[in-house]
């Protein structure tokens, strides 16, 4: 193989760094997308035996949005491995308070599938609770995974003009008392 051909192969199998903002995103839907990028299934050269997966940096893991009542209904299981009561069940909100990146990690861990590649794939996932990512990681990033859902906006993020121009659907009567 000539040096030119070798360089071409390096280019084809180059590892890319993606960034994903988990703000207001469902972690269980996002994890499927992230797993796709970790495995390299978004590339037309994908092959299960060739190591063509990418790195994914996930920011704002603290601001994920669980659907419905899942914050207090979804339970995460952990077992220490020791007999007689090594098992613990932690509610999602509780786990999230202890470690704000843990729910995302568990979701991706499940989504990449139970193969021998799982450990290597998880090593290429970089989770951050907020948007502060160290500069030496961020300088590798050359691509962004689009969010799955539109972020809802708070009322205070709208300007006064926008609020004023918004169509008024109804008005309280003059004698209405708001408690």
């Amino acid at each position: 193989m000539s040096s030119m051909q070798r360089a071409k192969q390096w280019a084809t199998f180059a590892r890319i760094w993606h960034i994903y903002d988990a703000k207001w995103q469902n972690p269980f839907d996002s994890s499927k997308t992230i797993a796709k990028y970790l495995k390299g299934q978004h590339k037309p050269i994908y092959h299960p035996l060739s190591d063509c997966g990418d790195h994914v940096v996930v920011i704002n893991c603290r601001d994920i949005a669980l659907p419905g009542p899942e914050w207090y209904q979804r339970v995460f299981f952990h077992h220490t491995g020791y007999p007689k009561g090594g098992a613990t069940w932690t509610l999602a909100w509780e786990l999230h308070e202890k470690n704000p990146t843990k729910i995302m990690e568990r979701a991706v861990h499940r989504a990449v599938g139970g193969t021998l590649l799982r450990k290597g794939l998880m090593a290429r996932l970089h989770l951050f609770p907020d948007e502060h990512v160290s500069e030496d990681l961020l300088r590798h990033v050359t691509s962004q995974i689009p969010q799955l859902r539109v972020q809802p906006r708070r009322l205070d993020s709208y300007s006064e003009e926008e609020v004023r121009d918004f169509p008024k659907v109804f008005d309280y009567p003059a004698d209405h008392v708001i408690r």
Binding site: K8, A11, T12, A14, I16, I19, D21, K43, P44, I45, I59, E131, L138, V141, T142, S143, Q144, I145, P146, Q147, L148, R149, V150, Q151, F166, P167, V169
Partner: protein, 187 residues
């Protein structure tokens, strides 16, 4: 049931020194025939030597042919190739015609050991436009962006949200209102 693949090495289609592309260099260089003058095992070889060997040597000036009579030994042919490979062909009980056919096989062969071919085609230039890379289909202005970028936040909007519906309804109402005002104003 075929079992030849079990101990056969595998390889890809290849031509030594790109033989046959533009010019052809015969790879078979030397043939050494050992045979017995008396035994019936060498009958076919003796017939070949008597009838065909001179013609064969004349037709193939690139191949040296040696004849070595060996008393009471099984006949065999040693084939030596340009790449240094040697092959020994047992000519025991071969007829004249069979020996000639085997020599024809050797004459056209490259000297590479026989192997199972993994693919039946080969190309040195697999791609004209350049093989796919992660940057092939990425717009070049991505180089100038800093991540996380505003562009990357655009999630696919699947349905019209309630807010958008309301805005649209309001806009339509305003238009109608304006129209009615205009019509009443003109009349």
């Amino acid at each position: 049931m075929s079992f030849k693949h079990l101990f056969m090495k595998s390889s890809f289609v290849k031509a030594p020194i790109q033989n046959g592309i533009g010019r052809y260099v015969g790879q078979l260089q030397r043939i050494t025939v050992k045979f017995c003058k008396e035994h019936s095992d060498s009958k076919g070889v003796r017939d070949f030597i008597e009838n065909q060997v001179v013609d064969f040597a004349k037709q193939n000036p690139g191949i040296v042919v040696y004849l070595k009579p060996r008393r009471h030994r099984a006949p065999h042919v040693k084939l030596e190739y340009l790449n240094g490979e040697t092959e020994i062909l047992s000519a025991k009980c071969l007829s004249e015609r069979e020996l000639r056919q085997w020599l024809e096989v050797a004459r056209g062969s490259s000297g590479e050991p026989v192997a199972r071919l993994r693919k039946m085609q080969h190309t040195d230039r697999p791609s004209i436009q350049g093989v796919w890379t992660p940057w092939t289909n990425v717009p070049p202005q991505t180089n100038l962006e800093t991540f996380p970028s505003e562009e990357g936040y655009r999630a696919p909007q699947r349905e019209q949200t309630a807010t958008e519906k309301l805005r649209e309804l309001f806009a339509r109402q305003q238009e109608q209102k304006q129209l009615t005002e205009e019509t009443t104003g003109t009349s």
